[in-house]
């Protein structure tokens, strides 16, 4: 047993930034792990990869990935990424962010990015609350869950993210939990190879904050919930893919082909540009 050997994925991480800030048992580490695993499987050219993230625990992922990366303001990762991708369609642009960042403050950007079908890949770690600020109720907090701002139980109906993504026009939509690392990695690989807007949601345990308030004190307990409740419903109706105590519908929900926004835009541009260039010496 050799201690000195380096982790096979270390080349995808910024050594200076390790160890990451995440709590013991936090699923974000697994999301990052699966993401770089997918990069490794695909032999992705890190020089062409841009990782964009917003604010929140998972937002740190951009800084941890050994590629060009940008840590935007809260909720704006997709708008920023849109600029990046349009300006240089050659780049592989991935947004890795949380449920609050992408669907509360950033919700408008999400639905419009999906509607435009900009070729940006979104990997969302859903921890069911605002972890970094100490566990407030958020857009995905299940009904009756206890958080620091829903001390009497949450009465807001949560977003069904896969349904939202599908309805907004995403060309690939999947949901897994951080226990389903194999399928998650597969889905990330799939998404990275697609052209249009893609969305992969990962239910990620937040034992120190969300778990503590909801009788799942350890990551293991939260993982146990995922194990017990998960039902694989590949290509089942996303509108029925709810997340409850007894049932978490996981799987791939959408996989369609659609011309990406940047492709259409740049085709138009080059046509018009050619015309404009006519007879210019």
């Amino acid at each position: 047993m050799v201690q000195e050997m380096v982790h096979p994925f270390s080349k995808y991480l910024r050594a200076e930034m390790m160890p990451h800030i995440w709590c013991p048992g936090c699923g974000n580490g697994i999301v990052l792990n699966c993401f770089v695993h997918a990069l490794d499987e695909l032999q992705t050219d890190l020089d062409r990869l841009v990782v964009v993230s917003g604010i929140g625990c998972i937002g740190r992922t951009a800084g941890y990935t050994n590629a060009d990366s940008f840590h935007t303001t809260h909720g704006r990762s997709l708008a920023f990424a849109t600029g990046v991708k349009l300006a240089n369609p050659e780049l592989e642009v991935v947004v890795i962010s949380g449920d609050g960042d992408l669907f509360a403050i950033g919700g408008n950007h999400f639905i419009h990015a999906a509607r435009r079908n900009i070729g940006v890949k979104v990997l969302c770690a859903n921890n069911l609350n605002y972890g970094m600020t100490g566990g407030q109720q958020g857009p995905t907090t299940p009904l009756e869950s206890v958080t620091t701002t829903s001390p009497y139980g949450n009465i807001e109906h949560p977003f069904n993210l896969v349904h939202l993504a599908a309805a907004s026009g995403a060309t690939y939509v999947a949901r897994w939990t951080s226990l389903h690392v194999r399928r998650l990695t597969q889905s990330i690989e799939k998404m990275m190879q697609k052209k249009g807007f893609c969305f992969v949601e990962v239910l990620s345990p937040c034992p120190e904050i969300y778990g503590r308030y909801n009788r799942m004190r350890s990551g293991l307990e939260m993982m146990a919930w995922f194990k017990r409740a998960s039902v694989v419903g590949n290509f089942s109706d996303p509108s029925k893919a709810d997340i409850t105590q007894d049932k978490i519908v996981v799987g791939e929900f959408v996989d369609v082909e659609k011309l990406s926004y940047e492709k259409m835009l740049h085709e138009k541009i080059s046509k018009i540009n050619e015309k404009a260039l006519d007879g210019v010496s």
Binding site: R14, E16, M17, L46, D47, R48, V50, V52, R60, A62, G63, N66, A67, D68, S69, F70, H71, T72, T73, R76, A79, F80, A81, T82, G83, V84, K85, L86, A87, N88, E90, L91, N108, H109, H112, L265, K268, I269, S270, I272, N273, K275, A276, L277, D278, G279, V280
Partner: protein, 383 residues
């Protein structure tokens, strides 16, 4: 930058928004992200038609927040990028103007000022955003704001704005007003190669050694772009020269914030531009900017006819504020008159610079700017 037969050269009759758009194209802007708003809409409209002819990108985002974010993204992808808006949108953009400042993303923001606050008077001119231009986003930072007073300047200063933002890696604001934007005038566009076009400085040296936020002597760090293999990180968090977050180090915080301010202040000599008219012997000096400056000039001429020694100091650069120049001019004058289309914003800066010299303020709100006679009247009273 692709040459095209459509590149406008020579004399043209156009309005300010169009002149601004043409200026952007001439300056090499190849990315525009915006959201329709009166009275800046024509800039977006014109660019949506013109950008593709130059291989450039026009994208209409879901709001001004997104527009500003997209502009920063495009800038980091290596394009000269801009957006255009008016007061309400300008407010929304402040968040990411702050991000552009923090991540030192070169970009241009055009604010065609209208009547505020809130939705105010969309079709009426105003100068109510000039303080927001400086202080709009939270935290301390240096910023550059130019203000055109003619359609020709809408063209020239747009080019200038890009040059400055590329030089200093700072968001540069073009603070126009509804009249300048909608007014039709003759604009002379020189051949592009006769114009001074500045591009951001790129890093040289080994990629793995690259420190994205390590400044040169001019306090401005060379800028690598995404996809060039530098694999660098940028964040809105306080960061060290590597670009990595340093959220608890006061040393890093002060070093970074100071530099963000100083890179503008220390270079203000190179940045600031003003126009001085008949100041040699002036007793009364009118300090004005934008469309108001033109009313002021004819007011001054009328005063001279009546024998009053009046002169004009037109501010082209609002920020960094031309403090020294104002001080010098004030030193030689008996009185200073400051007409603004607001309740008195820039006048505070003028008073601060003018020291003992008395400063008279002339406010105007609503449908039209000050008339020459109104200006003449104030000059007479203060002579």
């Amino acid at each position: 930058m692709p040459k095209t037969k459509n590149a406008l050269v020579g004399a043209h009759f156009m309005n300010g928004d169009v002149a601004c758009a043409e200026g952007a194209i001439t300056a090499g802007c190849r990315f525009f992200a915006g959201y329709p708003i009166t009275p800046a809409t024509e800039i977006a409209e014109h660019l949506s038609q013109r950008m593709p002819e130059f291989g450039g990108i026009y994208v209409q985002m879901e709001d001004e927040i997104a527009s500003m974010a997209a502009v920063i993204g495009a800038s980091y992808s290596g394009l000269k990028a801009m957006t255009a808006t008016s007061g309400p949108g300008f407010s929304l953009m402040q968040e990411n103007i702050g991000l552009a400042v923090m991540t030192e993303a070169p970009c241009v923001v055009v604010d065609v000022m209208r009547g505020g606050p809130s939705t105010g008077q969309p079709t009426m001119p105003g100068q109510q955003d000039v303080m927001q231009a400086k202080w709009g986003s939270h935290g301390d930072y240096g910023i550059v704001a130019l203000t055109p007073s003619s359609v020709q300047e809408m063209f020239n200063l747009t080019v200038e704005a890009f040059n400055l933002s590329e030089t200093y890696r700072v968001p540069t604001l073009l603070m126009a007003d509804e009249i300048v934007a909608h007014m039709w005038e003759k604009v002379v566009i020189p051949p592009t190669d006769k114009l001074r076009i500045v591009n951001r400085k790129k890093p040289n040296g080994p990629r793995e050694k690259y420190l994205p936020f390590k400044p040169d002597a001019d306090l401005v760090p060379p800028m690598a772009c995404f996809g060039e293999g530098y694999r660098f990180h940028a964040t809105g968090l306080t960061h060290d020269e590597r670009g990595f977050p340093q959220t608890s180090s006061s040393e890093v915080q002060s070093r970074l914030v100071k530099r963000l301010c100083e890179k503008i202040e220390k270079n203000s000599g190179k940045i600031i531009r003003v126009e001085e008219v008949m100041l040699e012997d002036a007793d009364v000096v009118v300090v004005a900017y934008g469309i108001v400056a033109r009313a002021a000039l004819s007011g001054i001429r009328k005063a001279r006819e009546k024998g009053i020694k009046a002169g004009l100091l037109r501010l082209i650069t609002l920020w960094p504020f031309p403090e020294k120049i104002v001080a010098r001019v004030a030193g030689q004058a008996k009185a200073i008159v400051v007409p603004e289309m607001n309740c008195g914003q820039l006048v505070r800066e003028v008073e601060r610079a003018a020291k003992e010299t008395p400063v008279a303020f002339l406010s105007k709100l609503g449908e039209e700017p000050h008339t020459p006679l109104e200006i003449l009247e104030v000059i007479r009273r203060n002579s």
